[in-house]
Symmetry: C2
Subunit: 229 residues, 2 copies
């Protein structure tokens, strides 16, 4: 009975890792569509988001079925609930990638990113790829050490987010208000995308260590305490 | 045994309604601190966010305890999971109110809101109060009709969000890039705040109707399908 339960949980875990693959691919294509003003690529991200939503619904249904049949207690229930929350975060990350693609589509055939900010968004795209890959590894391995690595990678995204504000708010900004508004929101989407990976890593650590979510000190995961202005 | 289970779930429901009170109050004070450049009020919102976090942790612990002891099946499990997700949304809404208060603090003694946008943020604050009060009623009553009302109120927030962009991007905008960046993010915080209430209402409707989350058509709740550019 319990073996069946754990077999089904393994399938849920595999689906969550597959969601990180889809979300990583969506973010990669969203970044390319943004930098190259590639409408076709942007459309593929927007259309593909429903696949991620469907997988989230599948994970949710599997979690309920396994719970209703096996009646998990204590730790097992925490695993099921963690899986549901991780799925919700990954679904939201897919939405954020789609938001970026929609911004690329809105400004097509121009690019929403002024030339001097291309390196920043290229770096944000690379950090997003990096952090989502690590998140997939955290889910697959339940390795709490890797969870700290996710948090440190998120700090790199925060640094890029602040760097972008410095550029936009400097006296040398010559691209006007519309471009400022565009890149502010775009940068916020990347920053929130990475934040979700930290939430996921904390959820995995919580199940692994048994520590309640809020009692995990940010410093344990290498997090900055204050992240938003 | 099942009576104990439902008594405990009632307590969780009460705590969630109390969270909507705290979140509503935080948003009200955040809006006032923004409009009046009131540092004291802003600090009270920022410091008070830990109360909301604590209540979320309390709800989470109660949900686990009630589940571990009573081993809920099917519908009951859905109620517990919905409560956990609603609590997570309310916690995030508290964060968003704190973000607004931090923006007020950052620009103090100036106001982050140019005078011509005061009516828009006043309206956003009023809509936020309205929608969070309705959300409390949805949680307390489980009335799906009220859930539709939440979605319609969210549409009003979306309208204000678009109106703000029109103002910022018009040729008459005279407040420069920094103010544009500030009000863009602030408006986004209000919009996300209201989005979370729709998520909560959908969660309540899902438990009440038994329909899986993703199969509730946006039109049933009066939602716009595309909300982000």
């Amino acid at each position: 009975m319990r073996e069946v339960f754990h077999e089904k949980l393994d399938r849920v875990s595999n689906d969550l890792v597959e969601m990180t693959n889809l979300v990583g691919s969506a973010m990669n294509r969203a970044t390319q569509s943004l930098l190259d003003a590639d409408l076709h690529l942007a459309e593929s991200v927007i259309a593909g988001d429903s696949l991620i939503d469907d997988l989230a619904a599948q994970v949710e249904e599997d979690c309920f079925q396994v719970s209703a049949r096996q009646q998990p207690v204590a730790t097992d229930l925490r695993i099921v609930v963690a899986a549901l929350r991780i799925s919700a975060s990954l679904e939201r990350m897919g939405d954020l990638a789609a938001h970026i693609a929609k911004s690329a589509r809105l400004r097509y055939p121009a690019s929403a990113v002024p030339v001097e900010l291309r390196p920043t968004f290229q770096a944000m795209g690379a950090v997003a790829q990096n952090v989502v890959a690590k998140t997939g590894a955290v889910i697959a391995t339940k390795d709490v050490t890797l969870a700290g690595d996710v948090a440190r990678t998120d700090e790199e995204m925060d640094r890029l987010h602040r760097e972008l504000f410095n550029t936009v708010l400097s006296p040398n900004w010559s691209h006007g208000v519309e471009a400022a508004v565009d890149v502010t929101l775009l940068s916020r989407f990347y920053e929130r995308f990475a934040d979700h990976t930290v939430t996921i890593a904390k959820r995995v650590a919580y199940v692994a260590t048994g520590e309640p979510y809020n009692s995990i000190e940010p410093s344990e995961l290498g997090l900055r305490v204050v992240r938003d202005a």
